[in-house]
């Protein structure tokens, strides 16, 4: 292995050298990890970053000795202190697991046992490893729950997991991993399922606990932003190998590997010039069951030569910074060389002040019945959307941002008439579609289309792509069968897929290809409004930029009015001309995208922007404290301003009078009694 200079005066707690893993499933052998070297020192955070299938999670599981069925370590060693973990007898491994080496998994609804109380689940490792009595172990669990920031832990000890919010569940997961005070914690995508404000809190908590308990942490994530803010050193993985590793500042400032460089360039930032197309890496990561000899990134690399395809590059240290190493035959020296394509501006003829809006949303509300409250309790309603109004001009893209539960997806479904509002209306080209029924609705609805987040669930698994694309045309009675097939072929061409895809089934396509098909289907009836709900959330970074560029191009070419719904502020900014920020069923701020991002007037917007990891937020955001706490219940929202329970600036006025949207500039409105003094506002 390559000697990477250790940080001075720190002890190594974990050393992984030349680790290789294979997984055998039937006749197929996949090699998810090949020759990986890692060193972890006491008290530091090592970030492992990579896309789906890069081997980052499998490396973590190998260290835990928890490879999936059919998986085994084929070479290399993992030493923890003086103990060699590869080949350790299972009983001794179990003694370390959860005790000296612990793992925090991604929050999912099932990462905690749904039928057991959280106190018992947190106490379990202590009872197991330290042999404490039930009472003692519960006391330790309660202390740990307090430490991870669960309010009133003694009352929560007997809760079941479904009674906690996602953020609270992730805190419980962390408490469970740390209750035995392990020396090494492996956090595998600990915040991926969480909202951005909660994510920031959880990552800060992990940093704080690591320092206080003197642990070493491996932070496994796909998010470069998280790495840049929370890792001391980074390992970038691609196709099962370590592509580049080094101290975080050095790696970000002087990126050497071509993959790292391209990956960083393809992430949309909050300050990206919207006129420029995003950099994107063509193609897709290699199939790890096919064992190529050369560099795994060569087929997608602009700098690749014959040597890259024939010979695996070794990990070599950078001359200037010996702790920084990379495996690339043609290391980069400077930023990505490219001339970004300029994107066409919106057609000048379209002027939202003069043209009639394509879509008008007027005081839209949607309420759902919720379960009753206890024995003989009254009926309650969830107020998902509570009075939202905005216009979208022809050819304009309106972005809706907000955290989960803010009502943005419910709103999106009403926009395309998949759901009926409780009150208010959606007016499309002068007709209130929300009131239409039957045939009329069917005809109008064809002009309003939706692109879904999870295209593997949104495409019928038993239909070929051709049938999926022809179906909307057939329903609307357009063309003969041959004409419809020709149209399907054109649609695939528009979204950059070959005609051969027509005969494929959805599961035969990659995630990026399926999302392109999802877009093609939405475009089949030549709609004038396209609602895209989290269009790229399920995609890896390198694929995401391809789809984002495609969407931008199609929006412009077809003069589509679109509504982009996302929790990802950078995605919304890249795609949208104007944005609206939603909180608990209300629009709290809206305006021209550049203006809202550069000078947020609502404390919530400012807090959201400040919570995005790895972004140098606008200067104003630094003065805004982080948003703490969790989204209140939409069944019984706070009086007055709905954000006041989490707002650092809230006063009595905010509890009594609900603020309405008022202009801070001709193209920017905010619903706040104390809007932030923005550049525009101060003028």
């Amino acid at each position: 292995m390559v000697s990477i200079a250790p940080a001075p005066a720190t002890e190594r707690v974990l050393t992984v050298s030349d680790l290789s893993v294979e997984i055998r499933r039937g006749d197929r052998v996949v090699r998810p990890v090949s020759g990986v070297d890692l060193v972890l020192h006491r008290g530091e955070t090592l970030g492992i970053v990579g896309e789906t299938g890069s081997g980052k999670s499998m490396t973590g599981l190998a260290i835990m000795g928890m490879l999936p069925a059919g998986g085994r370590i084929t070479g290399g060693s993992i030493t923890f202190g003086d103990t060699e973990l590869v080949g350790l007898p299972p009983a001794r491994y179990r003694g370390l697991r959860g005790n000296d080496i612990a793992m925090v998994f991604q929050d999912s609804l099932t990462s905690l046992n749904p039928t057991r109380r959280i106190g018992d689940q947190v106490a379990e490792p202590v009872r197991l490893h330290e042999g404490l009595s039930r009472r003692e172990a519960r006391r330790r669990a309660e202390e740990m729950l307090a430490l991870v920031g669960i309010p009133r832990p003694s009352e929560r000890m007997d809760d079941h997991p479904h009674q906690l919010s996602g953020g609270m569940r992730q805190r419980v997961m962390i408490a469970m991993a740390l209750v035995c005070q392990p020396k090494v914690v492996i956090a595998d995508e600990p915040t991926t399922a969480l909202d951005v404000t909660i994510q920031a809190e959880i990552l800060d908590l992990l940093d704080d606990l690591r320092a206080r308990l003197g642990m070493a942490m491996i932070l496994v994530t796909h998010d470069m932003g998280v790495i840049s803010r929370h890792a001391d050193r980074v390992g970038v993985m691609y196709a099962g190998r370590l592509a580049e590793t080094g101290p975080t500042p050095a790696l970000f400032e002087r990126t050497r590997h071509r993959y790292t460089q391209a990956l960083l360039a393809s992430i949309p930032s909050l300050t990206h010039d919207r006129g420029e197309e995003l950099y994107s890496i063509g193609g897709a990561p290699p199939d790890l069951s096919v064992h190529d000899v050369g560099c795994g990134f060569a087929p997608r690399c602009a700098a690749a030569t014959d040597r890259c395809r024939a010979e695996q590059p070794p990990l070599v240290a950078d001359g200037a910074e010996p702790a920084h190493a990379f495996a690339c035959w043609h290391p980069a020296d400077g930023p990505v060389e490219r001339t970004p394509a300029r994107l066409a501006e919106r057609p000048a003829a379209v002027d939202e002040t003069s043209a009639a809006p394509r879509l008008r949303v007027v005081d839209l509300r949607r309420e759902y019945p919720a379960g009753s409250d206890g024995w003989f309790g009254g009926r309650r309603t969830v107020k998902a959307v509570s009075g939202v109004s905005f216009d979208v001009a022809p050819g304009e893209t309106f972005g809706l941002v907000g955290e989960s539960g803010c009502g943005k997806s419910t709103l999106g479904r009403m926009l395309v008439a998949l759901d009926r509002p409780t009150s208010g209306e959606v007016v499309f080209d002068g007709v209130a579609v929300s009131a239409l029924r039957g045939r009329e609705l069917g005809e109008r609805r064809a002009r309003l289309q939706m692109m879904f987040q999870d295209s593997s669930a949104a495409l019928d698994p038993r239909m070929r792509i051709g049938a999926i694309l022809r179906e909307p045309l057939a329903i609307q009675g357009i063309g003969t069968r041959a004409e419809r097939t020709a149209r399907a072929r054109d649609l695939l061409d528009d979204v950059g897929l070959p005609g051969s895809v027509l005969e494929r089934f959805p599961h035969e396509l990659s995630g990026g290809q399926r999302q392109r098909v999802g877009l093609a289907r939405a475009l089949a009836l030549d709609p004038s409004v396209l609602v895209a709900d989290e269009p790229v959330s399920a995609l890896d970074v390198s694929i995401r930029s391809q789809v984002l560029n495609l969407m931008r191009r199609i929006q412009r070419e077809r003069g589509l009015s679109s509504i982009v719904i996302s929790h990802d502020l950078a995605v919304v900014r890249y795609l949208s001309d104007r944005v609206g920020v939603m909180y608990l069923g209300k629009l709290v701020e809206s305006g021209a995208a550049e203006e809202v991002y550069a000078a947020p007037a609502h404390p919530y917007t400012a807090g959201l922007l400040a919570a995005v990891p790895g972004e140098e937020g606008p200067a104003e955001a630094d003065r805004v404290p982080r948003i703490h706490g969790e989204l209140p219940s939409p069944i019984d929202p706070p009086s007055g301003c709905r954000f006041r329970t989490r707002c650092p600036l809230a006063t009595d006025l905010c509890a009594e009078v609900e603020p309405v949207l008022e202009p801070v500039s001709p193209t920017h409105q905010v619903a706040c009694h104390f809007p932030l003094q923005t550049k525009e506002g101060a003028r």
Binding site: M64, M66, A91, R94, G95, L96, R97, G98, N99, A102, M103, F105, Q106, S108, T110, S111, L112, N113, P114, T115, R116, E124, P125, L128, H129, H160, H162, Q163, M173, M176, A177, P369, A370, G371, S372, G374, W375, F376
Partner: protein
């Protein structure tokens, strides 16, 4: 919760009214006049007409149905003229015995099937798993009367371990007081259930094994045995609870085939005999009780699952 219970109760009453009406009118259509059935083919038409008039069987069928409902509300299930006994008494004498036999079979089935299904899931595709699955298919496909006959032939006639006939005692507790004579009926009843439950338990346990909390439990350092008993078992049993709940009524109503095969007097045997005797009041009451048990069983199963799994909110 309370609203849910009340609403379910109201619906249940409607369902039962529907069942009673359908059964009542159907029996009215298929049967001869009650007087003819009771007095026999040789009775004079006058005697039959007289009998029918005395017992109100000459009234319009709707009036008869309403008066039957009135009796039901007072707890009177009618009278078996063949056995000269009130139907209520007949059912009472046999219900306990049927219930005990079926419950014994159910408990035996669960005791075998739950561990077996979990074991199969944990050792998926092993020899144990394949053999158990194969056996389950064979058992499931075997009719109960055939299985009972095979058991009698082997264990009673060949090995002489157990008697071929069930105990003739009238006590409902005979399953416990005379286990030797009850072994074969109980095993016959359990066998088919074991086949269903174990396969159900296996697939449910496999589902749960794929859940993240199992991986989390392993990451705590728990040995596999504790991962299974502490984390997997309860979650994997939830679907089986529902299944058992829906089966309970059928169990209480007695097992027609096993009871007649082993000559064990219970509701099932009573029903079969009444069918041959054309004893319609008994048939009517039996069907009605079957309906009540089905409705109650589904109801209890829903509540039981909600109690075992706190995530389920019993709402609209």
């Amino acid at each position: 919760m309370a609203w849910y219970v009340l609403r379910r109760l109201a619906v249940s009453v409607l369902v039962l009214l529907g069942i009673s009406a359908v059964v009542f009118f159907l029996l009215h259509v298929v049967s001869d006049s009650p007087g003819r059935v009771v007095l026999g083919q040789r009775a004079s038409p006058e005697a039959v007409a007289d009998f029918n008039q005395r017992h109100g069987f000459d009234r319009p069928v709707v009036v008869q149905y309403v008066s039957y409902l009135g009796q039901l509300l007072q707890g009177d299930l009618g009278r078996s003229y063949k056995l000269n006994e009130s139907v209520g008494t007949l059912l009472q004498q046999n219900a306990g015995r049927s219930a005990m036999l079926s419950l014994a079979g159910l408990v035996l089935a669960l005791l075998v099937a739950i561990p077996l299904g979990v074991l199969q899931a944990v050792r998926r595709n092993s020899v144990v798993d394949r053999v158990a699955t194969g056996l389950a298919y064979v058992l499931y496909a075997t009719p109960a009367f055939l299985l009972g006959l095979v058991l009698i032939a082997v264990f009673s006639q060949q090995l002489d371990l157990f008697p071929a006939e069930a105990s003739q005692s009238h006590s409902p507790w005979v399953v416990f007081t005379d286990p030797r004579s009850m072994a074969l009926p109980v095993i016959t009843i359990a066998a088919t259930s074991i086949a269903i439950f174990s396969q159900y338990q296996r697939s449910s346990a496999l589902d749960q094994l794929g859940q993240d909390y199992i991986r989390v439990a392993r990451a705590k350092g728990l040995p596999e045995r504790l991962v299974v008993t502490r984390h997997l078992l309860r979650n994997a049993c939830l679907p089986v609870i529902t299944l058992v709940g829906t089966m309970i009524p059928a169990l209480l109503a007695g097992n027609l085939i096993v009871e007649s095969l082993f000559n064990y007097s219970g509701l099932g045997l009573l029903f079969l005999n009444s069918l041959q005797r054309e004893d319609y009041p008994v048939l009517l009451a039996y069907t009605l009780i079957g309906g009540v048990l089905t409705v109650v069983g589904n109801f209890v199963a829903d509540i039981a699952v909600a109690l075992a799994d706190r995530r389920i909110e019993l709402a609209s």
